[in-house]
């Protein structure tokens, strides 16, 4: 009897500790914030607001996003939103990225990380040119566009027609919401269900980020 009580107590303590660590205990304000202006029609999504002109977006796109997206629960869609207000050629980049995402969709690609994705090819080419090669396209918007067209294998003529597609325009209109999100704490910005913005500084590992996203999806 004298032995049993402390032992059961210890067991109970150990169990509650396990439960406590398993549930992580994410808190609003430190781990995420609720957006004042939620993104419309974004149920069951993880939205990433990014810019080609942002070193941490490149870092995340190299080592984090491709790791976490496959770990998202079934039925959750990952959607990249390009921020047009950042970078000298932000608007041109948005136009090309939106066009290429629609192309990817037409080609039956399901993931923005597919090796065949033209969007991914252009995005990585811009990251690489801007951040690794320190290219700033001083010659103008045409030279900027050329980098992405070359990488994605799209001709200028094809792009000029494809960008008039109403789906491209609809996507660009949707991306207008990026600025309000980016204003809160900068980019990359990850938004769950269009409502919960993850505080990037609280992320310590890809797995922790997945846990947080899962919890926010159930909210």
């Amino acid at each position: 009897m004298g032995f049993k009580l402390p032992r059961s107590l210890a067991k109970g303590l150990a169990l509650s500790l396990l439960v406590a660590t398993a549930s992580f205990g994410f808190t609003e304000g430190t781990d995420y914030v609720k957006l004042e202006k939620p993104i419309a029609n974004a149920d069951k999504t993880l939205i990433k607001v990014f810019s080609y002109d942002c070193p941490f977006c490149y870092k995340y796109d190299k080592a984090v996003t491709p790791v976490i997206v496959p770990k998202l629960p079934e039925g959750v869609t990952f959607r990249p939103f390009h921020l047009k207000t950042k970078g000298k050629y932000g608007e041109t980049a948005s136009q090309l990225f939106a066009t290429l995402l629609v192309k990817d969709q037409d080609n039956g690609l399901k993931s923005a990380f597919d090796e065949k994705s033209q969007f991914k090819k252009a995005k990585m080419a811009y990251y690489n040119a801007y951040h690794d090669k320190k290219e700033r396209w001083d010659a103008g918007a045409e030279s900027f566009l050329e980098t992405g067209l070359k990488a994605s294998g799209l001709s200028k003529a094809e792009f000029d027609t494809a960008k008039e597609d109403p789906r491209v325009k609809a996507l660009l209109a949707e991306w207008e919401q990026s600025y309000e999100v980016a204003k809160v704490q900068g980019v990359p910005a990850f938004v769950v269900n269009g409502k919960y913005l993850i505080k990037t500084a609280s992320i310590t590992s890809p797995d922790g980020m997945v846990e947080l996203i899962k919890e926010l999806l159930t909210k």
């Binding site: 942002c54 941490f56 921020l83």
Partner: protein, 222 residues
């Protein structure tokens, strides 16, 4: 020379009293304002314009913090014997220093995350800078306070077609990997150098303020 000699004598015989007396005079306040203005000018004229190293969001905040210290120093220097002006000097000075310490600590963390394979634990650049009290410094003086660089990176980026002078080329190559006090070994980055400057300022201004308060208490007792 004699001026410094007599100052040293004064300091040796009674450090606290000497500092308390000095902060009643103009020169220390002018030193604080001058050093702050000098650092802002070096950052803007030499690094930003001459060597094409663009300021990031935290860098313009650091400039703002030095500007606060400069304003405090100038206000106190109008008449350091006037307690109201001097208190304004201390408030602006300490506030600038504390803000500066926070900005440089944050920039240092960003710098390390940006240069490693572990990008976690920091926030990237914001889409728009936010200065204390909502001051629109970046619209008032965009050339000085609008962030145009990437956070954590301050390497020179020379626009196409620019002919560099010999000295410019030397500096561009010297800081090719970003600003370091010792570029060859990548040690002491810009954030750490600023942090060091703020800590020195904190100690000096702290000694001035403490001596002044202690002196006042003593004279009240006497």
């Amino acid at each position: 020379m004699n001026f410094f000699k007599s100052m040293w004598q004064e300091f040796k015989s009674c450090p606290m009293g000497a500092i308390a007396k000095w902060q009643d005079e103009r020169f220390l306040w002018l030193v604080m304002a001058g050093a702050s203005i000098f650092l802002i000018l070096v950052a803007h004229t030499l690094f930003q314009h001459y060597v094409y190293m663009k300021p990031c969001e935290q860098c313009v905040y650091i400039r703002f913090a030095f500007l606060c210290m400069a304003i405090g120093g100038l206000v106190a220097a109008i008449d350091p014997k006037n307690s109201v002006l001097k208190i304004i000097g201390y408030v602006f000075g300490f506030w600038g220093i504390i803000q500066g310490i926070m900005y440089s600590t944050k920039l240092n963390a960003i710098h390390h995350a940006a240069h490693s394979d572990n990008p976690f634990g920091v926030q990237g650049c914001s889409a728009e800078p936010r200065f204390p009290f909502g001051l629109p410094m970046d619209t008032w003086a965009p050339d000085w306070f609008k962030p145009t660089g990437d956070c954590g990176f301050d390497s020179p980026i020379v626009p196409d077609g620019v002919e560099l002078s010999g000295l410019q080329q030397f500096l561009v190559d010297f800081y090719a990997d970003g600003w370091y006090l010792f570029p060859a070994s990548h040690s002491v980055n810009m954030a750490q150098a600023c942090l060091f400057a703020y800590i020195v300022c904190f100690i000096l201004l702290g000694a001035m303020g403490a001596s002044w308060i202690l002196k006042m208490i003593q004279s009240k007792k006497a």
